[in-house]
């Protein structure tokens, strides 16, 4: 069913991850497809929501944290689809599988590279949100929660997307499968970020449980990913 990893794979585990990341980053550098699509989509989404909320600036500001996360989730599905579909279309993925690379190195490599793309998007979004909603998204704890949340989301995302692109429904199925699974992350993450949106910084005890939940989500998802990824990509 699966070929056990040969010993040369073990020693090159971390270098493999780095190689895969570099490959993805270089592709992105040359084509610029993934991040630009995510940014465009996000901007359109944010503007659309602003229209939906009408002239009620107060309401918009209240919802800004949730809106930020919702936008990240949706744009994330775009990034995941693009990044993994490119591999499949060009059959580079098959090449990757034939090479003596540990499956988990592929998994982590993809998780890290797509996380980087999403973080690049978030950097832009944070600026946009500060401007549109006049809320302190620049605060370091907020950025930390965004980074942690993104990593966990993409960890689950790579696993799910690797499955969805092999089905009949492809792109359409991804949000249906991934978004419910991402909500246990977004709930506490949004709570944590919201706590920092006031002039007064919150006490650690107030945000402790929310941030712990984000961390637990990250750990659980990466663990599940590491254990099950090679079952998803085997030919």
């Amino acid at each position: 069913m699966t070929t056990p990893p040969i010993s040369s794979e073990q020693s090159s585990f971390w270098p493999s991850i780095w190689t895969i990341m570099r490959k993805d980053l270089r592709i992105e550098q040359h084509t610029g497809q993934t991040v630009s699509v995510m940014v465009m989509f996000s901007l359109v989404t944010v503007i659309m929501f602003n229209f939906a909320l009408g002239t009620n600036l107060g309401a918009a500001r209240e919802l800004s944290t949730g809106l930020l996360w919702a936008t990240i989730l949706l744009a994330g599905t775009l990034g995941l689809n693009r990044s993994l579909a490119i591999e499949q279309e060009n059959q580079t993925f098959d090449a990757l599988l034939i090479a003596p690379v540990h499956r988990n190195a592929i998994y982590l490599g993809k998780v890290f590279s797509i996380s980087l793309f999403t973080l690049a998007l978030e950097a832009i979004l944070v600026v946009v949100f500060i401007v549109f909603f006049d809320k302190p998204f620049w605060r370091p704890p907020v950025l930390l929660v965004l980074a942690m949340g993104t990593f966990g989301y993409i960890a689950a995302g790579v696993l799910i997307t690797s499955m969805s692109i092999q089905t009949r429904s492809r792109d359409v199925l991804l949000p249906v499968l991934l978004l419910p699974l991402s909500l246990p992350l977004v709930l506490p993450a949004a709570m944590a970020v919201s706590a920092y949106m006031f002039p007064q910084w919150p006490e650690w005890s107030e945000v402790q449980s929310a941030i712990s939940l984000v961390l637990i989500y990250d750990l659980l998802m990466v663990t599940v990913g590491l254990f099950t990824y090679h079952y998803v990509v085997e030919a």
């Binding site: 419910p180 699974l181 709930l187």
Partner: protein
Amino acid sequence: MELAKLNRNTRILNIAAIVVLAIALGMIFFYAPVEQTMGNVQRIFYFHVGSAWVGSLAFLVALVSGIMFLRKPSRKWDTTAVAAVEIGLVFLSMAIVSGSVWGKPAWNTWWLWSPRLTMVTIAWLAYAAYFMLRGAIDDEERRGRFSAVYVIISFVTIILTFVSIRILRDIHPVVFGGAMESAQGASEGLQEFSGLDSMKMVITLNVSVIAFTLVFGAWMLNRIRLQRLTDETQILKSRVAAQLQGEV
């Protein structure tokens, strides 16, 4: 196990489930004491907690089936997983609906986006999506494999449901592991019971949980048997199709 033994076990469990369910109902309405703060409507508690617990159990069974399938793919494990997820969703739906109906007199609202209720809804969505995933894959082996991975990752939502209700403050009473604490959870914030009354509630709750577990078992066997028959029919259908083609 072969079909004859499956049929017999199914019949036994069906009867056992009905009997214990009847006993549980009797206890719920005649043996359990009247709750002082809210009155008789509190009796929903017994079925509500029962279905919530057994629903989680069902998803645990699905998780185990998924893991077993990945270790050694076989139709048996795939079928068990499908049955467990399907039945788990039914129990979860019962828990959500009963909770909502109880919530109206208790909290004066049909629904509340509290962490626990939100997480339970998320779990429901995740497991409902399981069937969309299966529907999108034609190859049997791949379908079994992906389904197994998906039940494993979906179980994270169940784990997080339990973890988040411990960590986050919530309006929903916290129900710990044992039935004793469950009864305490029920009486917490509601009223003080004398020791005897609490005991009655505990016993009634335990019987309800046992009843639901038997229902779970009965439904599992029924569903697995249904799948076996369906698979058998599929095989015959292809044989018939082949024969008809041969004749043409």
